[in-house]
């Protein structure tokens, strides 16, 4: 048994709790410093499968704006962030685009859709 500790700053909300995790080769022994369950979830994720929600843009054809803001519906693996933004650069959607519309399904085989976060009407 070799227990090691890691310090995290939770990114779950702007409070930014300092969380300490004691673990034995990834086996979590204790979590301290979090003020809500989200913090425990975050550090567990960081140790086993770190993920981030990715927000970016997709080009719009014939819209009142040239781009529409988008996000991954839920967090995708951290090591897929750049693959995801690169893939989004090649996508062009036609106006109108509505908030919540899927602009890219199953992005980079993550099983997660990319959706529009604003509405861009025809321009």
């Amino acid at each position: 048994m070799s227990i090691s500790t890691r310090e995290f700053v939770c990114i779950g909300c702007p409070l930014g709790c300092n969380i300490t995790v004691e673990h034995d080769e990834g086996q979590i022994k204790s979590i301290t410093g979090n003020t809500c369950p989200r913090g425990a979830e975050y550090v567990t994720g960081e140790l086993t499968d770190p993920r981030r929600i990715v927000t970016s843009l997709v080009k719009v054809e014939g819209g009142e704006l040239p781009v529409v803001s988008v996000k991954t519906r839920t967090a995708i693996p951290k090591d897929k962030i750049f693959d995801c933004t690169r893939a989004l650069r090649d996508i062009v959607v036609s106006a109108p685009v509505h908030m919540g519309d899927v602009v890219a399904a199953d992005i980079c085989s993550t099983g997660i859709d990319v959706i529009a976060t604003k509405t861009v009407e025809r321009g």
Binding site: V9, C10, I11, G12, C13, P14, G16, N18, R52, I53, V54, T55, S56, L57, K59, L65, P66, V67, S69, K71, K78, I81, F82, T85, R89, M99, T117, K118, T119
Partner: protein
């Protein structure tokens, strides 16, 4: 034209204030917004992390704004977009709001009450006194954010960012995701001005270095930025000779603080707080001018839009109370004195007869304090003593005062709020 209530600004503050006022029974109201669309700065804040307090879910800026815009529509709150307020004046107890737009030209609206919700703007290079040439490629972080996120243009490829405010941190990630190389974020102070979570998810995640106690001492390039020179600063924030480092880049982003936009407020004669550069307000978020309220970033710069919405709803409710039943004139005004590390409070004063059961008092500290406590006292008697691991200037703090608690203290004239350190804090 006459209106009961005019709200200046259709961003998060103005929308939340308008919704709260309408829900409290004000029907004759108007929101005036200078941009073509409602939502204010949230429209360009396409990152996530908004709304955790308000909606218990994580939204992007446009989604958060969308919720309020929908609500305003549902409540049939009239909004004039593309309309700029050019002057505010008093005529007896009426407020004269002079506005201008393409359709109707220049005209004046007479209002019984006004809510100031104009937001803030960025500190510019001119205000920072950075030496060097004046080439293309120097942008405030928010301008770059607008170019990238709304107009779909990249301002540059190799980027240095001065200032570690949240917009600078967010733009470091944004530019990186769009394919630019962000070489370094330099911060004059020995601590970051941004939220901790943004340092983790915008810099650490992408291996972007943050140099604290560093500033830009030179900008080179005649047509376009070619390099910037960073130097370390001493405790008095003066560059230390011999520490200069020239960094090749084509873009410099400035994220060096936000300034509330109060030209209209001062034109009206609103008394200002020199610390926040926003109006001095009481428990109702009312300024020294009866019937003129302020909320959001025009009042003091916030880190979280959730807090802006909450604060602005109070301004909306109080404006409604002023218009419907009338707000009692201040009777027992208690001033709140900010000392020992507390830079300011909003509100700066409160009146027992007018305050709601619970009064939120928000403040910022002037330095990083570890293992310290925020203490609120009245004549030496401690009312609140709340310990916290870290207080930092980049994070707004709050205490809650109750009417019950304050009513028990006879002849209360002043509350004192301060930071007490258990042990010596770091920094100056």
């Amino acid at each position: 034209m006459k209106k009961d209530l005019i709200i200046i600004g259709g961003g998060p503050a103005g929308l939340a204030a308008a919704i709260a006022a309408k829900e409290a029974g004000v029907d004759d109201l108007l929101v005036i917004e200078r941009d073509a669309v409602l939502g204010g700065i949230l429209n360009q804040c396409i990152h996530n992390g908004f709304g955790l307090h308000t909606f218990k879910e994580e939204l992007t800026g446009p989604e958060y704004a969308g919720r309020y815009i929908e609500k305003a529509k549902e409540l049939s709150i009239p909004c004039e977009c593309g309309t700029m307020v050019v002057d505010l004046a008093l005529s007896d107890d009426r407020k004269l709001v002079t506005v201008m737009n393409k359709q109707k030209g220049l005209y004046t609206i007479e209002a019984k009450a006004v809510i100031l919700a104009m937001g803030c703007r960025e500190r510019s290079r001119g205000a920072l006194n950075i030496p060097g040439y004046r080439p293309a490629g120097i942008y405030s972080a928010g301008t770059a954010q607008r170019y990238v996120n709304i107009e779909g243009r990249m301002p540059g490829k190799e980027v240095v960012i001065l200032g570690s405010g949240d917009i600078g941190l967010i733009m470091a990630r944004r530019m990186t995701l769009e394919g630019a190389k962000v070489k370094v974020v330099a911060e004059l102070m020995p601590y970051s001005g941004g939220l901790k979570r943004n340092i983790v998810q915008c810099l650490d995640d992408f291996g972007i270095p943050l140099k604290l106690s560093h500033t830009v001492v030179d900008i080179k390039g005649k047509e376009r930025v070619e390099s910037v020179t960073l130097a370390q600063v001493d405790e008095k924030l003066k560059p230390i000779p011999g520490t200069e480092e020239e960094i090749a880049c084509d873009t410099l982003l400035l994220s060096c603080g936000l300034i509330p936009e109060n030209e209209l407020s001062t034109a009206l004669g609103v008394a200002m707080n020199p610390v926040t550069n926003g109006p001095l307000v009481n428990e109702s978020l009312e300024t020294n001018i009866e019937g003129v309220f302020a909320c959001g970033n025009v009042l003091h710069v916030h880190d979280l839009v959730d807090y802006v919405s909450e604060e602005s709803a109070l301004a909306g409710r109080k404006a409604a109370q002023f218009l419907t039943e009338g707000l009692a004139r201040p009777d027992r005004t208690i001033s709140i004195r900010a000392v020992n590390g507390v830079r300011y409070t909003v509100p700066a004063m409160l009146d027992l007869s007018r305050m709601e059961e619970k009064q939120l008092v928000r403040f910022r500290v002037g330095n990083v304090y570890q293992d310290a406590a925020v203490v609120v006292s009245a004549g030496g008697q401690e009312l609140i003593n709340r310990k916290k691991k870290v207080f930092a200037p980049g994070e707004m703090e709050q205490v809650i005062l109750t009417k019950k608690q304050l009513s028990l203290i006879p002849e209360l004239e002043e509350l004192v709020i301060e930071i007490r350190e258990a042990k010596q804090g770091e920094g100056r």
